[in-house]
Symmetry: D3
């Protein structure tokens, strides 16, 4: 299999195809133009400076293009940087499709849809089933594109759907441990809990907060969508099951200080909060450890209290010591 960007060590020569994520024209203190580039593939990102860039170069190497890069992985102020020796656009018969270089959910959209359908089947409460179906239909396209967050966790194409699928999987096992949990409520709440993010965030690439996202927030946005769904479906908004579904959404951040206007007041609300936390944090730890050598500590994760995490040298599956060297 082809080597990826982060398979290269410091001071190793790099020779591979990469996507230009951003390209900014700058000037040195001596007023000479250069291109500040960021390359990416699915293993991560790296910056590089293209010194003495000619106008033609600036025209050629723009964000969104795949290029063949020849250079060396170095470090600048503790961060990896690529020293460029040569760069050219990828040809048509080369892997020039930008989509190949973007990080995405590790399972396929079709598989995720299948899991959602299975969950919908278990939402036996008629009101909830209709509401969830209605809302999801409206936002389906964006839902399977959107990241789950600006940064922090699941910040990749399809991240929102993948995050939701993982939460459903955990919920599915918890209802066997705690039989009091109401499956219809739990699954409905999980599926809808973050759908507001497709309104809050601008999309999967160059993600930004929208004006609505900033001024209203995804929690209230989706609560409002549930109201609209009720009106269109002629469901009484004040019926207990609708009220509880809204409550699940509004309370899922768990505490006022995390932006929930109410705190969880039914067990399903408390549980969704914890499942959300588990999946977000597992994702952040996995992402950090993926870039860490066995026996080392990861970079600090700001959203987890600035902790860094240790990568075991024990072999995960066989419980044997992992080999330190890489082939």
């Amino acid at each position: 299999m082809m080597k990826k960007l982060y398979d290269y060590q410091k001071d190793e020569n790099v020779n591979l195809f990469l996507l230009i994520k951003s390209a900014e024209e700058k000037k040195t203190r001596n007023n000479k133009p250069y291109l500040a580039l960021t390359f990416q593939d699915t293993s991560g990102e790296i910056s590089a400076n293209f010194w003495d860039a000619k106008p033609k170069d600036i025209e050629t190497f723009k964000a969104g293009y795949v290029v063949k890069v020849d250079g060396k992985r170095e470090e600048y102020n503790g961060n990896p940087q690529l020293r460029l020796n040569a760069i050219r656009l990828a040809k048509e018969d080369e892997p020039s499709n930008p989509e190949l270089y973007v990080e995405r959910a590790p399972i396929h959209k079709d598989k995720m849809i299948e899991e959602f359908n299975k969950a919908m089947f278990d939402i036996t409460n008629a009101n909830l089933n209709r509401i969830v179906r209605h809302v999801m239909k409206k936002f389906q396209r964006e839902f399977f594109q959107s990241p789950a967050a600006m940064k922090n966790h699941h910040a990749f194409l399809g991240g929102l759907a993948y995050h939701t699928v993982c939460m459903l999987r955990i919920a599915r096992s918890l209802i066997t441990v705690y039989e009091d949990l109401n499956t219809s409520l739990l699954f409905s709440g999980i599926i809808l809990h973050d759908v507001g993010k497709v309104i809050e965030l601008s999309g999967p690439t160059a993600t930004e907060y929208t004006l609505e996202g900033k001024l209203i927030g995804h929690i209230v946005l989706i609560s409002n969508e549930i109201s609209k769904a009720c009106q269109e479906l002629k469901i009484d908004e004040n019926h207990e099951d609708v009220l509880l579904l809204k409550h699940l959404i509004l309370a899922h951040h768990g505490e006022y200080e995390y932006g929930s206007p109410v705190r969880p007041q039914i067990p399903e609300a408390e549980i969704i909060h914890y499942i959300d936390q588990i999946d977000a944090k597992m994702n952040m730890m996995q992402a950090a450890l993926r870039k860490t050598e066995p026996g080392e500590f990861s970079e600090k994760i700001w959203a987890m209290g600035n902790r860094s995490f240790y990568k075991k040298t024990m072999d995960i599956k066989n419980n044997m010591i992992a080999s330190q060297s890489k082939p």
Copy 2:
């Protein structure tokens, strides 16, 4: 003028008409029945025990009736208590109308409506004007009945409307000091900021939280009403002025930890938060100081960091020392 309940000092004989606020049948440790009564007039409340109550007494003295009471103001565990000597129902030609004994907003409903109309006139933005008018029409009756809170501040009949009127008065002066403030937004936000409380609270007497109030909260409830108004009035919900109005409502608690899902992001939102604080706190301090003698400290106010407040001996208007004695 007739003396009120709290014009009497400790150990003074009390002889006046009072409303029975609550009447609960209880038993002593020795199993003898008695009535635990709470009386009220507009000056406050006091409890009293009707020992050896006969079944007929229990039938007669129920919550909501006005009675003539003869007794003595005493103290029990530091709280005022009334020792009952005699009690009888008020006659028709006596002041037997319960409404005379209930605390209410200090200005008349008609005067308040007039002030609201004046404010509506200054909401020159057409969308905002229509939305506010629509929502207020829907909740008008309850709005002028409802207290502004369960306890703490403005917990009386008409308290919500009175609180809102006072806020409008402050806002009216602030827009002359800060010309950048948008009058339409500021007035609309103030009028609607707490209307959700008529859904959140059960009404002016024996006030409780409703299920919606607990699970959704008045902030999100009124934000949802604005959406509905838009749909009925065919106003685009995503238009900036609607978005900003919603933002004012959602952000008016000022901080996440006080239950706002977003923090203020326009000056009008920040200002409404402060006006709300000023009026709520002035009301709490006034209520506590009304029961305090000059030169003394009031009881502690839990909602103000458990502080107690000093009642000046200086005459407020003439800056002379207030006479300690009361005529």
Copy 3:
């Protein structure tokens, strides 16, 4: 099936067998002796006063005896209280075994042992397997007796083992969702995480903190037991797997302020913290809701931020409205 204590409503006549949990001789203000009793069965506890208790009564009705009680459920200061009409000791042919009246884990000890054995089988790392086996053998008897906490959650006979079993069940499903998690570490950490409580707490009845429990705490106590196990089993204490196991124990409260001297630094440590939280909170909510009528809110749970929880009227299994009345 026989009616339990909490199947009776207020003002209903009560006639059933109960265990005397505590019996304290007291005197009234007028110096007359009485017995302050607390009765219990598996549905909960209730207090009662036995007025004018004779010396013989005081001799007879002691903690630990089962009695036949005739009385009436009343309320005193908002708490349920039993008015005693008649009381006598249970006879031998009646249900006089005290164990029948004590709350205990809802699954049988044998079933729990079976689940532990299954988990041990999945701890394929030899060091961890031997350490866990060694520690559990030492504390096995107390482990299956001990509550999981003084009060708050799982405060019943076998509560510690039951809490641990539920955590293992959740863990078992999480390792299918997150394949990176190391089963040996996760299971070892869960099994041992609270074993220190058998040293920290005095036992299943009249539970108190021991001196060691107060001065050292269960977290450090069990960490120390792991060291001892290593010495006895000739396992190098500084080997990574032992170090990580200790870390799991020390970090499982998640944050310094909850008494963990280190914060989680491997994913398994973070996950155990969350599983622990989920199971403790589900147990507290279930216990509170068990005493709550559908459509009502439970008492406030101090250990959950003083929240109270709503009991749905929706039928849990069939998603239909639960009948309010009880047969």
Copy 4:
């Protein structure tokens, strides 16, 4: 009207008179001397490097001089920077008065003095009136020069007086809404609340904390000045009105954690705290929004919880959409 510094967009050629705010002689890594300049006019500040500065240049272009500048507005690390093409001193017949380029209070000192006099007139309490007059006389000159803070809010020439005037305006309206408020106390407290800053801060330019400012703080400094005034005016320091005035000063930060040694214990103290907050925050928001385009968010304001604020596209006065383009 002449264009100001911040009327120029990025990459526009700049040609205007500016004041040199600071000029520092530096050396490049290659040891060549250059001048690091900061220019300002009333619209803001910008930095510029004068490369290869000759000794004569260094002599000529010093802080405090007005210069004619020819250059181009660029950006360096996200901040605006001026690329210098030409620079020369302003001639006498050009706008060479440095005072023209310094930000100052938006209303004239005479107008402010008038408002203070009006307020003094309303301080009818004789003691308070004499004390305020005495203290203000002592610090009058510095008071009308001083900024209200080092940075954050009203950090300009006359800012302290302007801040105080705005607070008086708000107070004047609040006493009509809340008739219990004592005008003498409220106005005296506002006028003196921050006078200590003229001792705490070193003056309007290159503002620094003085040693007294750091070790004692403006709150205690002015409280001490009130004591001195009492001694000089033979007013009893322990008289209630003096005590309350001091209390207003000491408590005006509202909470211990903001540096008040006591918390507000009379309504006037609570109200001054809020008026102070409102005016400080309005000033910070206005300053940030002045540099923001309609439809955009301002830079983050650290002193307001790191929030950024949205600049409406609605026309403030006419409630119409503001034109995005600038003439």
Copy 5:
């Protein structure tokens, strides 16, 4: 030696002289008069009810009198209470001096004065020496009477002076460990740090906060006294040594949230804060442990984070196990 009140165990008969600390006339629910008494000796306080008190009894047994009491130590709601069998006034030839029963500093006033004089001798800085002497002379009488706090620590006659002496002793040793510390500053700061309490508190018996104490607080009160001393002694208030002395006083609570308007900014200020903490906390722990049996935990101390403290069974001096029984 005569047995003291707290040498008696529960249910033991008590027969000894006690001071009446307070005597309040009350009525039972059945309207019968009784006297609610609090007795004290140097070992502590206990309450007792004198049932069916005759008017003559009420006349006789007033606060401030010493009585001979015959009764039994019992418990009521977990607190010790005395059941009275007989009570009479102490005769002249009996230990009838009330001063014998009041808790006071464990060392004599003369000894304390001696230690202060020794400290004054080490304040070699002339300004500081004169200021401290001046202030202490003014408040000397109250200083040696006053408690150090309302409750919490050193709440006894002479407690303030004793607390200050202990702090001087610690300071004396710290200057040998840290030679950089300035003796003049350190000793001056300690001697004056709490003198403001003689203005803040109403005196050694029935201690209350004064109006000045509440509105200004002892920290600012004594800072103001230093200013006055300077004026009277013609010392320049802005001289560095005076400024630093004031800073020591203002900063000695260590943090804003504990009421210091500035935080420590010289080492002496930081150190005084810690010495103050050590002595206050040692005093609180000693007081709590004095009432605790070896091998038991004390009552919880609210001012120390609600912790309770363990009383060692080890003999303090000889490191042997203390005998549990008391001779």
Copy 6:
């Protein structure tokens, strides 16, 4: 006496022997190699760039060598920097021993050992004496090398032992002020309280946290060593004195949020916490003030709430004004 690095002012020519603390090969943006050097002597550290370094230079000037440096003290971005004119290795007959340039405890190891022996003599409790002796013997060599912390306080060779000696000195005086304190416990606790740092930290140079240090922490590590000592010495681990010693260690950070798994529950534990704080903070303040001119404020100390400290101009010993100029 020879001038040290920090005796030189800005822009002064520097000519002295220094130790190379670190030497890193770097490249300019233009790809030219240079050496980024850090020099140190006992007065502090300074950085310098050796431009156009030849391969031979890079070979010669390595960390650990003493060099003769000729240059000029300048400033770069507010930090001192050395401009290099000439550099050569120190010769054998010059002060070429690296140990002469490293900061170390201000008193000699032998003197410290003497103080420890004196303290051991006062630990009259046999168990404690044997345990402390046993643990100290095991870690003696590292103990006298180790710093007391990574950075912050006592971060120098022998810092841990010196910190401990200072704490013993303070403790020795406190036991004369508070006679209840148990000397054996107090001294044992102090000696062992931070010994875990020799396991937690990697050593005196290039100090890093070890894996055990990160995952277990020095508090639990030393608690475990006490257990091991007990096993080897056949002392019962559950004996009260051992339990209390462990408690002292575990509780010495004072609060959960500082990493103590239990809070102090005996006076000795509380006192050790405060002594530790005093010595750590005195050390940090001294270190910061050593680099500060009289009349100036030090740099901010992050570990002390980001405060900066004022360096008095008063002469410490004679209380006279220190001369600002330096000979």
